[in-house]
Symmetry: C2
């Protein structure tokens, strides 16, 4: 067996352990990943490999979760896969703590991740690495392909830090293999040593030569471009392949991998037997674990969602969110949440819940469901993707809405991969007041509303908050951002969970209206106030709440046209940039630029976001369309 094949055979062992999780953080190396999956019997044919980077193939330019069999997380954007692996390892550690018993431990996998220099330069990886060290994730093994080359050339030009020392500072177990291209025994031993370390994550620095065997080995020439024909020829010859043949797996290689796959299958069978025993002895735990891994929600959980009457007190929606989490946590063990160091502001911690912490810290246990992420929003987002990818866990994470943007890279991958991740995004507008424009989102809603397969919720009251969680928890392949207020919000007259779960509904209905005001979150109450003022002046005004555009868009045409109907102008009101509201309204009122620092009522006044001023604006709109004449058609009626 050639040394290339041997190397690969050693590495692929990593893919076959039952319930084992892997992440190849440098997603551009997916050709190798696809080949391994093919050789190990995943649903990836030789034709799939030939269709590499072709439209509609199973082998896109970077590996995509939910798209290709055996791909466990989507990678390519650097640093994400590494942070995903930290999430996978947290999930394993937590699920093991909850479900393993003294005599039977069905959850015992390691998580392996490959990473390169690029991943290590990214801040998201630094954040995740620091947290992984703190959390003492012994089941995590990272293999760092230290080849000294990134796209700009030798890493000497930008990346000269001491990686081993950095990981020691994070509390990792640090190993290295000096001849990573050839010293298979050393690689094997290092992995084994990593497996033995139970209280620290392990990183193995594998000193390698990029494009090993190519004429261009050791240069960035082999990073992004295909090798030249003559180079491929000499490379194949060198490793004992027929240089004339393409897309051929010699029997020798095929058999070597088949043996690996067989060993994996045997181990999987062993594991199934173990699980069978577990099922017999611990039927309740087994049932719950099976339900969670399958992705079902327990019967009747929705009945625990808080319900409000219009006469109930005004409450901040971040507080309403806390009430939802407090109600659901006892019936939904799948919920595992945390905050990026804003627990007391995000109200993400359910009373008496235990921190996910190593026992040795005295601060919690691995059974704990509350994660202290530290001020690491991007890391949190990517770790949540890993938690969701593991299965059995619905992760949520708190920060200010404005700082979800720090995690934009991870949020995008939640949506692309279909990871059910919930952001508890409090302090959702200028309504946060004194912290000022550095903390007040303006453009954020536009960003996330424009992202495919992402639900951006902005509930206006208690029932809408419950609805947001209802839909977010049912949406098993869609991430949600729930934008929540710092300030108190009144309970609305026509708000119910059922109504709000449609993404949009009529809060205040009148017939023969002169105007419809459409709004979200904290501004719906202001719109209702404006409607009241205008009604006293003889101007009939409907009010529509549109807490989630994407969910509303998915409703039947007839329903949507009944909410945003023709016949009168529609005015949108929201304390953000008006960008995008033209889809649902004829006229838009919002912020023309940044917010301001001050008590929130004063800030709202400064920007004209008061019932009184919206009434004036509404009157102007009504007059304009009266003067203009002609039919007023709903903006939803379109050719395309």
């Amino acid at each position: 067996m050639s040394s290339l094949v041997q190397t690969r055979a050693t590495l692929v062992l990593l893919w076959v352990w039952p319930l084992l999780h892997t992440s190849s953080s440098p997603g551009y190396s997916c050709a190798l990943q696809y080949i391994m999956l093919h050789l190990l019997g995943y649903k990836l044919t030789m034709d799939d490999l030939k269709a590499f980077r072709q439209v509609d193939s199973r082998t896109p330019g970077h590996p995509e979760y939910h798209h290709t069999d055996g791909i466990e997380v989507t990678t390519g954007p650097l640093g994400q896969g590494f942070a995903n692996a930290v999430g996978l390892a947290i999930a394993q550690t937590h699920m093991a703590a909850v479900y393993n018993k003294e005599d039977i431990s069905p959850i015992s996998n390691h998580t392996y991740v490959f990473l390169g220099d690029g991943c290590l330069m990214e801040g998201v990886a630094s954040e995740a690495a620091s947290l992984a060290g703190h959390l003492q994730l012994g089941s995590l093994i990272a293999i760092y392909d230290d080849n000294h080359i990134s796209i700009d050339g030798d890493t000497a030009c930008a990346f000269t830090e001491n990686v081993e020392q950095r990981f020691l500072s994070y509390g990792w177990h640090v190993l290295h293999v000096d001849h990573g291209d050839t010293d298979l025994e050393a690689i094997h031993n290092a992995i084994e040593e990593g497996q033995k370390e139970k209280n620290k994550p392990t990183i193995i620095r594998l000193r390698t030569i990029i494009g090993y065997g190519s004429k261009q080995q050791g240069t960035h020439g082999v990073h992004g471009s295909p090798l030249k024909a003559d180079d491929i020829e000499q490379l194949k010859t060198r490793f004992g392949f027929d240089p004339k043949q393409k897309y051929v797996v010699p029997d020798e290689v095929r058999n070597a991998y088949a043996a690996v796959a067989q060993r994996g299958a045997a181990l999987e069978q062993e594991w199934e037997q173990l699980l069978g025993k577990y099922c017999q002895k611990y039927p309740n735990e087994h049932a719950e674990l099976s339900r969670r891994i399958k992705g079902d929600l327990p019967e009747g959980w929705e009945s625990k969602l808080p319900v409000y009457k219009p006469t109930d007190a005004a409450v901040a929606s971040r507080k309403l969110s806390e009430t939802v989490l407090t109600a659901l946590t006892p019936v939904l063990p799948d919920l595992m949440g945390g905050s990026a160091d804003l627990t007391g502001s995000n109200l993400t911690k359910v009373p008496k819940s235990v921190d996910f912490q190593p026992e040795s810290t005295g601060l919690g246990s691995y059974k704990g469901i509350y994660i202290r992420y530290g001020v690491r929003e991007h890391g949190m987002g990517a770790i949540m993707n890993g938690l969701a990818a593991y299965g059995g866990i619905i992760p949520f994470g708190g920060t200010f809405l404005n700082f979800v943007s720090y995690a934009a890279g991870a949020v995008r991958l939640s949506a692309l991969s279909g990871h059910q991740v919930i952001w508890v995004a409090t302090h959702d507008s200028i309504g946060l007041g004194e912290d000022g424009p550095t903390h007040q989102p303006v453009e954020t809603a536009a960003h996330f509303r424009a992202t495919p397969n992402l639900h951006f919720w902005r509930p206006a009251d208690g029932n809408e908050t419950s609805a947001a969680y209802l839909v977010a928890l049912k949406a098993r392949t869609t991430p949600s951002i729930i934008a929540l207020s710092r300030q108190n919000l009144p309970q609305l007259e026509n708000s119910t969970i059922e109504h709000a779960a449609k993404g949009g509904y009529v809060v205040h209905e009148v017939e023969g209206e002169h105007l419809t005001i459409v709004s979200t979150g904290s501004e719906v109450g202001i719109a209702v106030e404006a409607a009241g003022i205008l009604e006293k002046e003889g101007c009939k005004v409907r009010v529509v709440s549109l807490p989630c555009w994407r969910v509303f868009d998915a409703q039947p045409e007839e329903y949507k046209l009944s909410v945003l109907r023709s016949g009168a102008p529609i005015l949108s009101v929201e304390a953000y940039a008006t960008y995008g509201w033209e889809r649902y309204s004829h006229e838009q009122f919002g912020l023309s630029a940044w917010g301001a620092s001050g008590p929130y009522q004063k800030v709202y006044e400064k920007f004209g976001l008061t019932g009184k001023n919206i009434a004036v604006v509404g009157k102007k709109v009504v007059d304009f369309y009266k003067k203009k004449g002609g039919e007023i058609v709903s903006p939803l009626i379109k050719a395309l």
Copy 2:
């Protein structure tokens, strides 16, 4: 003098050195910053201090550049200020290398930055710290307020890494002061030691007690909430103040600070004299340095912008961007750019330009204008803000458009602060082809178009690319993102720099049109193709290019209405989410979800973005509006 005052007096020395730059990365501590500025004679009165966190005050909840005298960078979003300081230090190092002479060195300031645990947890700070170590920025001194407290409580819950060891791994000079609340001599000595170190940035870990002197000292209770009345009383008594008085500066304190300010003024005068000598001896350098610091551009630079004819060859706009940079670099020494490890793809490096590198690396010199940022997009964004804040430098940075999102936190602060930062954002759509959806932006344009004071450009050809740079370079207080194609784009018939510099113009004009197609970037050529097909079928079609919405929005109403005129339906075509296009068009065509991996022509075909299909779509739109009847009014005509 009380010890509190002494401590402060020591620290404020940092603010007064001529041309010295500072950043308080934990912006929530701005109350202290404002008080210091007041005591040192900046334009901040006692009334301003009393108006802390009130609407329209000079003392918002977090410090804002361009808003408050003496605030040099906007901070609050954690980690940014630290990375800004790295930018300030790069700027100083570069300007010193370019302008200092053996006998006269007008540029010799240190950059000081305060940071806390939160800053250190953020990935953006890790990225900047690693690069600062690599670049051996000896003039940078960071003071780490190691108080063991963040908002979630003791840092033991999430942040237990060894910070000193981490910074050693980055190649920093690491010092510590064990009693940071009281040991003024040790602080003084550490700063002095940091100043002596010329080849490494210095970090001083200052072990402190948060809320020192309060009854709640050492707890997170003093982090975000005001102290109670009795606590304030005992605190004032303890440090020798009258506990009954508020907003009072004892003469003793006022005088102590006046002496500091006086020393600063004297040093400033000394520096002015030095600069005078420099002016006499090196008049050319002095003139250029003065121009750069003032923020003027040199005479006639615009004439160097490349100009194209419709008959010129089709070229990728990333290549057109390289041509612009190559033309401008000789006449605009202010340009200092780089890439986040995608130099060969972004085409950001002008031939023969020198890398900004320590001489000892053998890879460049501090005179070099090309920065190898490594795979650190967020760090690059925040460092560019620091470069812009220093003065004299117009920073640009390259990455794929999709990965500008990694830097969202920094981009937002460029716009809020008014830093002229230019993103060379190549591979701007599904047109990047094989890399696939993980790299293909869909939501990105919506995000940045919705951000106030940010110019998102998407030029369609050579003249539009020149126009984008023209406007971006003239916009001294506005950042720009220039989205550029990987694939070749044809030169358009009516495209001129002057036209495109208006943000939008008519590319193809006809009278009595049945349809106007509005588009940007690589899709304008497709729209022109569609117009050609439709014209053969007797359907008259205008084509409008809208490379920068925000710039177009600022044009006179009459001009805008002449471009997007009433009378026929307007259809937008863009290879992004259609979100937001309702502002400029009646109908929208774009991507309904993610892109795909494959050769770019195939990907465009898959999503119907071909001249042929857009002609079909256009016909559908024309028929719909014909059938609908009634007047067709420009979407720009509005009540509000």
